[in-house]
Amino acid sequence: MDASKKIIVKISGIFLGVLLFLTFFSNTVATMNLPGVSLEFPKDGVIKQTAVAQTTVEYAESIPVYTGQEGILTMRVREGDAVRQGDPLFTVTADLKELRERSNAETNKLDRAMVNIRRDESEMVFLQNKLDTLVPDRQQVTDVDPPDIAAIDFEYAQIEADIKNAEADYAALYALYEAGAGPLSDAGEAARELESLRLALARKEEEKERLLDKYEGDLAKAIADDVNANDDKQRAFLEELQNTRRELENFRFDMELRHIDVREARQALEILNAQIATGGIENIYAQSGGIIRDIPAGTESGTAVGKAQLLARLRVVNEAGRQTYRMEAEFPERAGFVQAGMPARIKINGYRGSQPGTVERIINRGGKRISVITMNTELSLAGGESAEAAVEKLSRAYDRVLPNSAFHSDDYGLYVHYVERKQNGILGYTYAVMRQPVYILEQNDAEAAFGAYNDIDYPIIVNSDRPVEAGDRVKIVGGEDF
């Protein structure tokens, strides 16, 4: 072989060597420089949305405890004590001598009121008789018939009697409630009944006045029309009629006031007599199981207390020993999914774990959407503790869910990058990036459910160490493989 051929053979050998090297290693070298991507296939899943807000715990149910009488206070409980329904809480001891003196004074007041009432009733009878006497005179002048007010008077008297009975019932029921032996609702019913009777009485009075006014009007008209009537005499007659009626009305008004005085005196007397009967001692009992809270400063045994003075608040604890708390939370605007009835988890600062709660309602305050959450728990909180409320919502099941890192957007819209595998003959697989437009169905901070206009049968890029574009070659460094 001559020299030139040897050189050609050597060059050919070098070429073949380079070719083999490139065959086996160029792809490796090229692949080293490619962007590395992690792939995932879209999966079935649900989108969990969580809304978190800071809030302050407040106590929900509490019953104020008031005194029913003046006296000296004896405390049977302290702040924070747990009590059951019916347990004695406080005792107010009144001065028995003073009570008796007051009872006597009220009795005298009642008696005076009754005397005045009887006197006024007599006067009213006289005026009524006078009025009735005037009526026949008027009838001589005209043909106008007086109204039949006897029936109205009868009904009026009946209602008055009913009112008296209702007043007595109310006083008795209220005394029972204050003694802790009866519910407030019964006294309220009695008060409502009393009020309705008084309204009926007033309506009856109005009806009577209306009839009399009509009668006077008709009478005056008739008299005026009568050509043979004596104008002066008629005028004087009418004037007397009106004066008598007015006087009668004034008496009736005074009578109302006196009746009120009588009622008040009777009520006060009943209360005093009840207190005297118990020796001037008022025991205040717990209306419900709970915990004693919010005792005002200065309230202690031996201090003088007045009537209807607040002694404490009884925080209601149900039979299972759980208390209800309430808190208001303003969730972020994007948490519009929070609705009334949804469960919530409350993490109270300083306490381990979280407590279950419920979104009771949504209120609008000052343009803000406030969620009112109630929490029923065994924890004994003072109120005012800071807490974190979280509400979760699970979406429906989707068949395409991916991490948010898989989605990109540009001027043409939202898209994902998927990887197509291509084989380059003897050098194995290469992977090329392709673009697929998509749209988001539901999303949270971590992942999103999406839809696509075409089926995507290839894995989707969820992470890459460099930005990639459609058409780029990539290497797979993580995630799922084909």
């Binding site: 692949t31 420089n33 003959g425 290469t430």
Partner: protein
């Protein structure tokens, strides 16, 4: 005579320059950077300026000397992507079997046409020659139909099998065989050698130049196959370098072309004297 000689040399020089110029352009431009190539060869012709006065945008600025010599084209081509090497081997996988097949098929056929006596030999040979003169495009459709029938459409066999049956190889080798002394053959036959033994042991060593010429010519022809891969192959992963060159990035085309033509050049350089001898001898009779 001197004038004639001088004119001959001038003409040959001009022709040589004309023929070598594209190769030189490819070689030198393969040492340019991609940016320089884009500047020289990127044409910004638009419908607006197409009919306007001649400007630089209409023409490429071909140069034999790079502004800066760099091997980035080769590096990007060979290391930046593994596709080029893959396509290179695809070309080898197409050309090598065809060349080998042609030699294996043409040699016995030429031996038969030359050494045997059978009826209609010359007519059949004439048909062979006629087929050799028929353009490739005429036979593409029949080849496609045959490939469909044989269910090899889409595979490399659809290109290799028709390529193996090359009338030119038979013609070239037979022409060379005409110069072989018959005495060797007859002596071997008298000694009891059959045709196959005579072909392999006696005749084949004597027409190495013809085989070499056939090898080179066939390799160069099949290394540059374009139409058959485009028509018969569906998978782009199987396409050869001759087809891939049309899709390659313009900034790498010169390096790609250099690398592409290197095997053919090396083979030609190594066997050029065989080719000359083979073609020469095939014409003597």
């Amino acid at each position: 005579m001197r004038v004639n000689t001088a004119l001959s040399y001038i003409l040959l020089t001009v022709l040589a320059v004309l023929f070598l110029l594209p190769v030189c352009v490819i070689l030198t431009n393969s040492l340019m950077s991609g940016f320089e190539i884009s500047n020289r060869f990127g044409a910004f012709v638009t419908p607006e300026n197409f009919y306007s006065s001649v400007g630089a945008a209409h023409f490429a600025q071909i140069s034999l000397i790079p502004d800066s010599v760099t091997l980035t084209q080769y590096f990007d081509l060979l290391f930046g992507s593994a596709e080029y090497i893959g396509k290179f081997w695809n070309s080898v996988l197409l050309a090598a079997p065809i060349v080998a097949g042609q030699i294996v098929v043409s040699a016995p056929a030429a031996y038969a046409f030359e050494m045997s006596r059978f009826k209609f030999k010359e007519i059949i040979y004439f048909i062979y020659i006629v087929i050799m003169l028929v353009p490739l495009q005429v036979s593409l459709v029949p080849n496609y139909i045959m490939a469909q029938l044989l269910t090899i459409n889409g595979t490399r066999l659809a290109i290799i099998l028709p390529g193996m049956a090359s009338p030119f190889g038979v013609f070239l080798i037979r022409q060379h065989m005409k110069n072989l002394p018959r005495d060797y053959v007859e002596a071997a036959q008298i000694d009891g050698a059959g045709h196959l033994r005579v072909l392999i042991l006696i005749v084949t060593p004597l027409f190495k130049p013809a085989v070499a010429a056939l090898f080179m010519l066939s390799f160069i022809e099949n290394w540059n196959l374009v139409e058959q891969p485009v028509i018969f192959l569906r998978d782009i992963a199987m396409e050869p370098l001759s087809v891939y060159l049309s899709q390659i990035d313009g900034s790498l085309i010169f390096a790609a072309s250099c690398f592409y033509m290197l095997p053919a050049v090396l083979i030609f350089l190594y066997g050029q004297e065989y080719m000359v001898e083979g073609i020469q001898l095939s014409g003597i009779k």
